[in-house]
């Protein structure tokens, strides 16, 4: 666990971290910047060691020293104001639909006092942007936005200095407004381009630049539409899968018959005889490159490969397997005494909850276009970790990272599922052998099979409660699904909370909210069970045990908007409530369901969700993220599950793996709690955690059936 960040934020254990292997050296010479960016003003923001959670991690984190004799300083971001006044901010973060291209542009525009349309953002290009750990963990808004904001604020001050010098006046008499430095008294003004023309000015600033407080924001804090939305509604935007260098081949990989299978023999003669086809064999990797996609597919299927796999666990035995595979002596978070707490309880409860593996299923499957030129490798690929994937490529091909460039076009979503560089490495291997650029697009089946999954898990909860509603004991064991969101905001005097790492039968990794969904599901359903055990209203029960005012505030806001306490609207309808906290954001969800007792069909009627993440940067995009989280959560709550049998995925197609569709969506109301007095937290993940327990609790109220496994009703309810 990282020591230098807020303890209340659990670092996800399943983020597939790679070592940060490269640091820009502050000795980075000014001519490099100007060669890259052209003349004008370059503002470089450096961080003190440990000043940032991700951008430019120090070597202390990685255990590796940067090369060279000088001490590397970490660079958070840079910003360029060209001689034509154009403003470009550079960040290693990537755009995956969370609309940070828009929200980051807002904060830069804010500090430079220019319209948002004046800002360009260069993102996720390892040759052009500063090192960044990756776009995950809801860190863009709390860390990257303030950093770019500081760079922009500092740039504004430099522009004032330049104007003061030009006019030979006191800088205090000058202000920046509408893209110009103005002298109120003399009514003179100079636009940014005039000030930077002919300049090659490199300014290095540290983190202390003064920025605009939230209550004075004019551009941030407003609902700004997706900045380049037009390119998306017209189909002009080029995703990785649309990228097309001249003279390019198409790749295809021959996949093993099952997970962990060993290659026994290959006969590729038929494929090799096809015109223009290049067959590549390297260890157990088999792939082809061909002039077009259909020839590549034909060649790949003509290759006769024999694989051997050992017997592997299947979905039916998963939960027993995870318990048995748990690592010994895990770390426990203990407070008070469980036996004492149980001794003081009027009622005791022990229950087990489970969550299935689910797939991210981003609509754009993994894709990469790789090109080698003069010993340098360039790869376009939709990854959430451009610098991490650069490291993977350098390692795979045993070349220095300086000879690898990873470019991430705005991507067709990831949800935590695109951290790894598998497709990039495969494309690069094919391109290396073929001597031409190669585009490799994973099929939907490959995406469902050879990516990785949200971890499955088993959670045991045992608790004690007094008849007055006070929880006296809380013991919580999570096997395998992860520790994100395992801590809570209840004031519990006696608790023991343990995450047990286990050996997973399937490859698993990050996912939107990750284990916070599993941990909130178990905790908030269990809270509901306790409330019913002592015959208390579930809202009242939570408010009694919560010790966190921000949590109480969102819970109350959601309940109020929902009309909590009015009871069931019809005999087979029910209401449920859940509260949660993760990654700096507070969420409360109320759901109403209707159950058809004949068919067992569960219909989600209405969801109200309140969310608080400090000062809101863009209310409409925040709503968009909350709505999207609710919709995505419906799948994992009710019907999504990866089915697997002896090393094979059984349902790896959209025809067999049901994702939420238009007809699954209830009436959704979001309630934004704006706290301008608090720093902004991220919002891409936490709004997903409340839906499953709220729906489970609503189903219980509707028909008296308590569901403790996600998904809860893959084939409807058996009533």
């Amino acid at each position: 666990m990282s020591k230098h960040i807020d303890d209340s934020i659990e670092v996800e254990r399943y983020e597939l971290f790679a070592q940060p292997a490269h640091h820009f050296n502050l000795e980075l010479e000014r001519r490099d910047f100007f060669k890259l960016l052209g003349g004008g003003l370059v503002l470089v923001l450096t961080l003190d060691a440990f000043g940032s959670q991700e951008s430019g991690r120090q070597e202390g984190e990685s255990g590796r020293r940067a090369q060279g004799n000088s001490t590397p300083k970490d660079i958070a971001g840079w910003l360029h104001i060209g001689e034509d006044g154009s403003i470009t901010a550079f960040t290693g973060k990537v755009e995956f639909g969370q609309n940070i291209r828009t929200s980051l542009s807002q904060v830069v525009a804010e500090e430079l006092r220019v319209p948002i349309s004046s800002i360009r953002l260069t993102m996720g290009d390892t040759d052009l942007t500063p090192f960044d750990m990756g776009t995950f963990g809801s860190r863009t808004t709390p860390t990257m936005a303030p950093q770019l904001r500081k760079a922009a604020a500092a740039a504004r001050e430099v522009l004032i200095d330049l104007a003061a010098e030009e006019w030979k006046v006191d800088r205090a008499s000058l202000a920046v407004k509408d893209g110009k430095v103005i002298n109120e008294r003399s009514r003179q003004s100079l636009d940014f381009g005039k000030l930077t023309r002919g300049q090659k000015l490199l300014k290095v600033i540290s983190e202390n630049a003064a920025t605009t407080p939230a209550d004075q924001w004019k551009i941030a804090g407003k609902s700004v539409a997706k900045v380049d939305g037009r390119d998306f509604v017209t189909g002009k935007h080029r995703y990785t899968s649309d990228t097309r260098p001249l003279d390019m081949l198409f790749g295809r990989v021959v996949r093993p018959s099952a997970f962990n299978a060993a290659l026994v023999s290959v006969d590729s003669r038929e494929a090799e005889a096809m015109p223009g086809v290049k067959v590549v064999r390297d260890g157990s990797f088999i792939g082809v490159a061909a002039p077009n996609a259909q020839t590549a597919a034909r060649a790949a299927s003509a290759i006769k490969a024999e694989w051997k796999a050992e017997p592997q666990p299947s979905a039916t035995e998963l939960f027993d397997y995870l318990r048995k595979q748990a690592a010994p002596s895990p770390q426990a978070n203990v407070r008070g005494s469980i036996p004492e707490g149980l001794a003081n309880a009027d009622k005791k409860l022990e229950q087990t909850y489970t969550v299935a593996y689910i797939a991210h299923a981003p609509l754009e499957p993994r894709a990469a276009v790789a090109e080698w030129s003069k010993g340098r490798l360039t790869v376009w690929t939709g990854t959430q970790r451009p610098f991490g994937v650069r490291g993977e490529l350098a390692e795979a091909f045993r070349i220095p990272e300086e000879r690898v460039r990873v470019i991430v076009p705005d991507t067709g979503a990831g949800y935590g599922g695109k951290h790894t560089g598998d497709v990039a490495v495969e494309a690069a291997r094919l391109a290396q052998a073929a001597g031409k650029a190669v585009k490799l697009l994973w099929t939907r089946e490959e995406e469902f099979t050879w990516a990785y999954f949200r971890p499955a898990g088993v959670i045991d909860v045992s608790s004690g409660v007094r008849d007055d509603g006070a929880i006296t004991a809380w013991e919580f064991h999570n096997y395998n699904s992860g520790s994100a969101g395992i801590q809570h905001r209840y004031g519990l005097p006696n608790q023991k909370i343990v995450f047990h790492q286990a050996k997973s039968p399937l490859r698993q990794g990050s996912y939107r909210g990750l284990a916070a969904t599993a941990n909130h599901f178990a905790r908030e359903v269990h809270m509901d069970e306790l409330a019913h055990a002592v015959k208390m209203d579930p809202l009242e029960f939570r408010l009694k045990n919560l010790k966190d005012e921000r949590m109480k505030a969102v819970l109350t806001a959601a309940a109020k908007a929902f009309g909590w306490g009015k009871g069931k609207s019809a005999p087979n309808c029910g209401n449920g409530i859940a509260a949660g906290f993760e990654k700096g954001g507070y969420v409360a969800t109320c759901a109403e369901v209707s159950v058809d007792r004949e068919s067992g069909k569960v219909k989600l009627m209405r969801v109200v969700e309140a969310f608080e993440c400090g000062a809101i940067v863009n209310p409409d995009q925040l709503k968009n993220q909350i709505e999207g989280s609710i919709v995505m959560a419906i799948g994992g709550a009710l019907f999504e599950a990866i089915d697997f049998d002896n090393g094979k995925i059984v349902n790896g197609r959209f025809a067999r793996y049901r994702v939420p569709r238009f007809s699954d969506v209830p009436a959704i109301e979001t309630v934004l709690v704006d706290r301008k007095d608090l720093p902004s937290a991220g919002a891409g993940e936490t709004p997903i955690v409340g839906l499953a327990p709220a729906v489970g609790n609503a189903i219980f109220e509707a028909v008296g059936i308590r569901l403790r496994s996600l998904p809860m009703a893959p084939n409807g309810l058996k009533t």
Binding site: A225, Q294, A413, F654, R661
Partner: protein, 159 residues
């Protein structure tokens, strides 16, 4: 194998040279560089590849080239007229009915087909017609409201 040498796309007759059994989607994307139509599943389950064939919303990933030849094909690239967005494109922007945007071209093409058949669809009719299009980011409520707004403006109802 029979080959097709011409395709009617977005009002133009385009030269191609492709086998009849190839998918329309692969010809649009790989041969004609019309990459607005997306591959999402290859089995007609997600709608990312939706184009219009003689006005009908069609999954181009499971449509053979032979079945599209000689017919009028409209893709997302063909609905913007002389720099003016189609009202449905405008409505998607206005409602921010997208996040990653990968499903958006297919969503818009399905919406075009819907509104040409039914200029004033109810919410239920929209949901039924659009249910074959997946938005994994979950912007469905915004898409429904964008379609309703577009329907209104196309009927001349203004805001």
């Amino acid at each position: 194998m029979q080959r097709i040498s011409e395709l009617h796309v977005n009002g133009n007759k385009l030269r191609i040279d492709a086998d009849t059994d190839r998918s329309l989607l692969s010809v649009l994307r790989d041969d004609l560089d019309l990459t607005g139509s997306k591959y999402g599943c290859g089995e007609g389950q997600c709608g990312a590849c939706t184009v219009l064939i003689d006005g009908q919303a069609t999954r181009s990933c499971i449509t053979k080239l032979g079945a599209a030849a000689g017919k009028k094909i409209t893709t997302i690239e063909g609905i913007e007229k002389s720099g003016r967005l189609h009202p449905i494109q405008e409505a998607f922007l206005e409602a921010d009915a997208l996040q990653c945007g990968y499903c958006t071209p297919g969503m818009i093409m399905s919406s075009v087909a819907l509104l040409s058949k039914n200029p004033n669809p109810s919410e239920l009719e929209i949901v039924r017609f659009m249910d074959g299009n997946v938005c994994r980011c979950g912007t469905y409520p915004r898409i429904v409201s964008a379609i309703r707004k577009a329907a209104q403006s196309m009927r001349g109802g203004g805001k």
